[in-house]
C-alpha cells in the first residue's frame, strides 16, 4: 500500500467510525418514528361493527377452549402450513436482531465509549449465531433462485437487500477470524451495518416496523381483534 492509500483508508475509517455512525443511528431512529407517524396519519380510528361484544370475546371459554383456539390459529398460520420456512425465517430474524447486542467486541466498544455494556455471550457462541444467520441468508438466496413461485416475484433489489442484511454478519465473521485484510474487513463491516441502519425505515427493511405496527393497529390487515384503525381515503368516491 502506498502512503496516500493508507492515508485515504484511515481518513475513511475515521469518517465511518465517527460522524457516519452517529448519522446512521439518528437516521434509523428518526426514520422509524417518522414512518410510524405517517402510518398514523394515513389511517383513522373507527369503531367497528361489533357483532359479539368485545368483553364477551375476550372472556369466552375455558382455558382448554382458548388453548384449542390458539392451536387452530397456529395451525392455519404460516407456522402450521410451512413450518420449515417459518422456522428458518424465525432463526434468521431473531439472529439478526439479537446477535449484535451480545457480541463481546461490541460491548467492549460500548464500555470504552460510554462506560455501559450489555451481557456478552462467549465468542464461540456469537460466532455460531453469526454463521447461522449467514446460513439462513444463503437458504433465502437459493430459495429465490430455485423455487418457482418465489422466482416469479423476485426483483433484482431483493438480492441487494439480502446482501445488505447478511453483509455485516459475513464481514464481521471474516474480520473476527482474520480472513483477508483485517482493517479492510472491519471497515466494510461497520460500513455495511451503517448502510443497513440507514435503509431500515426507507426500504423493504421497513417490514421490521410495519410487521408489528400495521397488524397491531389496522383492522383488516390481519390485525388483532382490538385493532381500531382503518385507512383514511382522501375523499369518498367510487374510485
Amino acid at each position: 500500500m502506498t502512503h496516500s492509500e493508507i492515508f485515504f483508508l484511515s481518513a475513511m475509517g475515521e469518517w465511518i467510525r465517527g460522524p457516519l455512525a452517529w448519522a446512521a443511528f439518528l437516521i434509523c431512529g428518526a426514520g422509524i418514528f417518522i414512518q410510524y407517524r405517517r402510518l398514523l396519519a394515513m389511517t383513522r380510528t373507527q369503531e367497528p361493527l361489533q357483532v359479539i361484544p368485545l368483553d364477551e370475546v375476550q372472556t369466552r371459554g375455558s382455558f382448554a377452549d382458548r388453548l384449542t383456539g390458539w392451536l387452530i390459529f397456529l395451525r392455519i398460520s404460516i407456522l402450521g402450513h410451512t413450518p420449515f420456512m417459518a422456522g428458518v425465517s424465525l432463526i434468521f430474524h431473531s439472529g439478526l436482531m439479537i446477535t449484535p447486542l451480545f457480541v463481546l467486541a461490541h460491548n467492549e466498544l460500548l464500555d470504552m465509549a460510554f462506560g455501559i455494556s450489555f451481557v456478552s455471550f462467549s465468542e464461540a457462541m456469537t460466532t455460531k449465531m453469526t454463521l447461522l444467520v449467514v446460513a439462513c441468508g444463503a437458504f433465502f438466496f437459493l430459495r429465490r433462485i430455485f423455487v418457482r413461485r418465489v422466482r416469479a416475484i423476485t426483483a433484482p433489489s431483493d438480492f441487494v437487500l439480502l446482501l445488505i442484511a447478511v453483509g455485516p454478519f459475513l464481514t464481521g465473521w471474516l474480520a473476527h477470524s482474520h480472513v483477508l485484510n483485517y482493517q479492510l474487513m472491519i471497515m466494510l463491516h461497520i460500513l455495511s451495518a451503517e448502510i443497513m441502519l440507514i435503509m431500515i425505515p426507507f426500504s423493504k427493511f421497513s417490514h421490521m416496523i410495519f410487521f408489528f405496527v400495521s397488524r397491531r393497529l389496522i383492522a383488516g390487515e390481519h390485525g388483532r381483534i382490538t385493532a381500531r384503525r382503518v385507512w383514511r381515503y382522501e375523499r369518498l368516491s367510487n374510485t
Partner: protein, 126 residues
C-alpha cells in the same frame, strides 16, 4: 374477457385511483418481502398446478403494483393482461394470508377498479 379495443389507455381515472389509495398501495408494496408464503393460502393456486400466476402476491404486484410504479402510464395490452390476472386468476374470496398482514384482496380490488376504468372487465358469458 372483454373485447379487445383499440382505444388508448385513459390515464386519468387510473391516476385518480392511485392518488386516492396511494398510502395503502405504497405500504403494501414496501412491506411485501417477495417471500412467496401467501401462495399456499390461495385455493386457485393449489388447484392450478401451483402456477405462480395464481399466487396472491404475484396478482397484486403485477396489477396495481405495476400501475403504481409506472404512475398509470401503461399500454392497452398491459391493462388487458392485468385484467386477465385480477379477474380470471382471482375470485376475491379474501382467504389469502400474508405473514406481514398486507390486505392483498384490497389491493387486487384496486387493480380491478383500474382495469374496469379502462373498459377491461370480466365477461361472464364466455
Amino acid at each position: 374477457m372483454s373485447e379487445p379495443t383499440n382505444l388508448p389507455v385513459d390515464p386519468e381515472p387510473i391516476r385518480e385511483i392511485l392518488k386516492n389509495h396511494q398510502q395503502q398501495i405504497r405500504l403494501g408494496l414496501r412491506m411485501c418481502a417477495h417471500c412467496g408464503l401467501c401462495a399456499d393460502s390461495c385455493f386457485l393456486y393449489r388447484a392450478n398446478d401451483r402456477a405462480p400466476e395464481y399466487m396472491p402476491s404475484y396478482k397484486f404486484l403485477n396489477s396495481i403494483g405495476v400501475l403504481f410504479k409506472k404512475k398509470g402510464k401503461v399500454g392497452k395490452p398491459a391493462v388487458e393482461e392485468m385484467g386477465a390476472l385480477v379477474f380470471e386468476n382471482c375470485v376475491l374470496c379474501t382467504r389469502c394470508y400474508c405473514p406481514f398482514g398486507i390486505d392483498i384482496p384490497a389491493l387486487i380490488t384496486l387493480g380491478r377498479r383500474a382495469c374496469r376504468s379502462q373498459g377491461v372487465f370480466r365477461a361472464y358469458d364466455k
